[in-house]
């Protein structure tokens, strides 16, 4: 039993995916998330167990539409998908189609082997469905499943992402597009790692990913090419910065465990042993955020990063207000921030008295 298994307890580990990696790199300073994700702890259940459930459900309607869109694209040997891909010049006329099997936990290793074998073979135009890639995240190997990989005749590889949000007149929800771009960048990174390990040139994997979405108010697909170079460099930087999880885990005391069978006070003290870095953005990205928010009450970070910065980086609301009221700054490097806060407090009082 590894130390990560000990942290999780007897339950089956939750798998990392591109979404969780994207979220992890969105807040790389959060050791709590890094450790819990590495150990595969069921965060929604843990949050519920300690009395801070989050709501991260997905609507059945949204799932149904996403599935039917994907099914429509892949029907008849991906006829519609190929046509859509050709419209952005990513696919050739005569292409093969390889389905590597269904999305199941038991077939992970087998599918990864088949993905390797397919990619190691000679370059031919093909679509690879359900491929499985790996990526090292914080010293852990993570399995990843892009929607599709498109193989061009010229030997270039493109990651294809199928999403069910609409592109209306060439525009889509920017938050959703940037989310999809980060996820696709995770796949590009993993695919490049795989090619390198096979002795190929990793630059064969294009930084142009293809996003396939329904156009306007119909289910007619539209493909757009996204350049994810910026997301790639951010990801690379964040992944190297991500403190090595194994050293974090090794430094934890023996009694720290997130076994859901443990009593709540034990779970809470385990959580306290791993520092979190809460920001309001976590509320939409991490299942444990409601608890971390509770824990962070009274800090300026809980009011948002811009607020904290505007307050000169001072950690707690209490000391902000004390400094604004004229208390002497505890350290010399806070003198400037304190002067600004005093001026702000004076101006506010003056304006409100008018």
């Amino acid at each position: 039993m590894t130390s990560l298994d000990r942290l999780r307890g007897p339950g089956r580990p939750k798998r990392h995916n591109a979404r969780t990696i994207a979220a992890l790199t969105g807040n790389p300073g959060c050791s709590r998330r890094a450790v819990l994700d590495a150990a595969g702890v069921d965060k929604p259940k843990l949050a519920e167990r300690i009395g801070f459930p989050g709501s991260f459900g997905q609507s059945r309607f949204a799932l149904a539409r996403g599935n039917s869109f994907e099914k429509m694209l892949k029907a008849d040997g991906c006829a519609l998908l190929l046509e859509t891909l050709r419209s952005v010049g990513v696919s050739a006329e005569d292409v093969g189609y390889d389905d590597l099997g269904a999305d199941e936990d038991d077939t992970l290793a087998a599918r990864h082997d088949r993905t390797r074998r397919l990619l190691a073979g000679e370059a031919r135009a093909a679509l690879i469905d359900h491929p499985l890639l790996t990526l090292a995240v914080g010293g852990q190997t993570v399995f990843l499943e892009p929607d599709l990989i498109a193989f061009q005749a010229a030997g270039r590889l493109h990651v294809v992402e199928i999403k069910s949000f609409a592109i209306v007149d060439g525009q889509a929800d920017s938050a959703k597009v940037s989310g999809a771009a980060v996820q696709a960048a995770v796949y590009v990174l993993a695919l490049r790692q795989l090619l390198r390990s096979l002795g190929h040139d990793e630059e064969l994997v294009s930084h142009d990913v293809v996003l396939v979405c329904p156009a306007n108010f119909t289910l007619r697909p539209e493909a757009v090419v996204l350049d994810v170079r910026k997301q790639l460099s951010t990801l690379r930087r964040q992944l190297t910065r991500l403190a090595s999880v194994s050293s974090l885990v090794a430094a934890l005391p023996e009694e720290v465990s997130f076994d859901l069978a443990l009593p709540v006070p034990a779970l809470l003290s385990s959580l306290a042993a791993v520092a979190a870095r809460y920001a309001p953005e976590c509320l939409s990205a991490c299942e444990l955020a409601v608890y971390c928010r509770h824990e962070a009450a009274g800090t300026t970070a809980a009011l948002g990063r811009p607020v904290r910065e505007a307050l000169g980086g001072i950690t707690t609301v209490e000391s902000v207000l004390a400094l604004a009221a004229g208390a002497p700054p505890p350290a010399e490097d806070l003198a400037e921030a304190a002067a600004l806060l005093r001026a702000a407090a004076r101006l506010r009082a003056e304006a409100l008295a008018e």
Partner: protein
């Protein structure tokens, strides 16, 4: 985020109640607004599910789509929405007033009032924009005919959504933004996006702490347009998967979901009405009435629906108008409201002081003819971060320009021009007197000329050249 607003947030957290960040109301609140709360079907591309709409708090009208995936039912919904919204939008075309243009050489007419639509949040505005996009190109004949109200409502919704992008416009307002303009809470701006949580801070229910009220509010049904996924799975899905949809039951559950938000919307209007109105709000509402009048005229003239996307020239002109509006709005808010001006004082774009010397009858006769150029000395009560030569204005005398001649320590010597009458002696009260407290700022309300742009058929090649009309579109 300015340090001043951030400090207000910290204060609000410590006090356990919202802190004001404005002393006056910066938007027009209509006597008879239309409140519209749209709900969308999850997963579908902007398919409406329901809407609660009305002009009176006591009379909400609920419109429901039994099967949002069915195209005919969707357009039937839009048609019934049009039958409620269009009469309201068109009810302000009764009375018009003449406005002199071109220095009195011509006259144009503008309606004395205009509509005002309220939605809960920015998502509501986006939803209306997309509903407008999906309906304004529909036709009343051809292969898939729709009711005449459908494309017309689409054009109105597009008009409203476009006007909501103009800073300071009050034709389409969203409650979250309107409240956030006047109060700040002790939670993050991400959490403020929930109307219920935001109002819990601004007007907490009696007998519970703000923190409890805000947590409770977070668990209530969202204010749309997206529904709660849990509600979708538990309540909506079983109802809609039935062979024939139980419409009364569906209507009931949707009414239960929408009613709390309906009440919050009217509470928002009440709270905003309690604030004293800013001096320059009426002027901006005049501008809104102008845009409304022009759009009514455009419709009456049989003008085409708004294009899918602006052409290069139209986009540049629109961007220019938006930039001008944003600058004007920022300056007007600061001039109307000492609390907003305080932010500029903190950043050094404004300072307060007392007049220590004044020579009101100073004449500058170095030019062709003598001109009145009084000088005053102001002792600043805070650090001055402007330089000699800068042109300053005082909100008390917006038409007067004060040029900085020199700065010695905290003494600022200023030369005044304008706003003193046409004679060589200043009108009484137009020159600040010794002892008067004065606020001076680099912000200026001066007129900003519109940009000049080429005709669309003269679009330069750098911007794609003249547009080619695609017949297939």
């Amino acid at each position: 985020m300015s340090t001043l607003t951030a400090l207000a947030r910290a204060q609000a957290y410590a006090d356990g109640r919202a802190a004001p960040i404005a002393t006056v109301r910066h938007l027009h609140v209509h006597e008879r607004p239309l409140v519209l709360i749209p709900l969308a079907m999850a997963g579908e591309a902007h398919a409406p599910l329901a809407a609660l709409v009305g002009t009176e708090a006591a009379v909400p009208r609920l419109l429901v789509v039994a099967q949002p995936r069915n195209r005919d039912e969707r357009f039937a919904f839009v048609s019934s929405l049009a039958s409620v919204v269009l009469p309201y939008l068109e009810s302000f075309t009764g009375l018009a007033e003449p406005i002199a243009v071109d220095r009195g050489r011509d006259v144009r007419y503008r309606f004395v009032d205009a509509p005002q639509v309220w939605v809960p949040n920015a998502g509501g505005v986006d939803f209306l924009r997309l509903l407008g996009r999906s309906t304004r190109f529909r036709t009343v004949d051809g292969e898939y005919p729709v009711e005449p109200g459908v494309p017309l409502l689409g054009r109105w919704l597009t008009f409203l959504a476009n006007s909501a992008e103009v800073p300071g416009s009050s034709l389409l307002l969203n409650a979250v933004q309107a409240l956030g303009l006047h109060w700040t809470t002790g939670q993050s701006s991400a959490e403020d996006a929930s109307l219920a949580a935001l109002l819990a801070w601004i007007s907490p229910p009696a007998g519970s702490s703000v923190f409890e009220a805000a947590r409770l509010a977070e668990q209530s049904a969202p204010a749309g347009p997206a529904t709660d996924p849990d509600f979708d799975n538990r309540v909506l899905a079983p109802l809609m998967s039935a062979a024939s949809v139980d419409l009364p039951r569906l209507t009931e559950v949707l009414r239960d979901v929408l009613t709390p938000t309906w009440e919050l919307m009217w509470r928002t209007l009440e709270l905003l009405r309690e604030l004293p109105i800013g001096t320059r709000v009426a002027g901006r509402w005049d501008g809104d009435r102008d845009t409304y009048s022009a759009f009514v005229q455009h419709l009456a003239d049989g003008g085409p629906p708004q294009p899918r996307r602006d052409g290069a020239v139209a986009a540049a002109a629109r961007l220019h108008r938006l930039e001008n509006a944003a600058t004007r709005y920022a300056v007007q808010r600061a001039f109307d409201d000492p609390l907003v001006m305080a932010e500029y004082r903190l950043s050094g774009a404004a300072f307060a002081g007392v007049v220590t010397l004044a020579k009101a009858d100073r004449i500058d006769d170095t030019g062709k003819r003598p001109v009145l150029r009084p000088r005053i000395m102001v002792r600043a009560s805070e650090p001055v971060r402007v330089e000699a030569g800068a042109a300053l204005t005082s909100p008390a005398r917006p038409a007067q320009k004060a040029t900085v001649i020199s700065i010695t320590g905290s003494d600022v010597l200023l030369e005044l021009s304008g706003g003193m009458g046409r004679k060589l002696t200043a009108e009484p009260g137009s020159v600040p007197e010794v002892g008067e407290r004065l606020l001076l700022t680099t912000l200026s309300e001066a007129y900003r000329p519109g940009g000049s742009f080429p005709d669309p058929d003269q679009t330069p090649w750098t911007h794609g050249g003249p547009p080619v009309f695609d017949q297939a579109e």
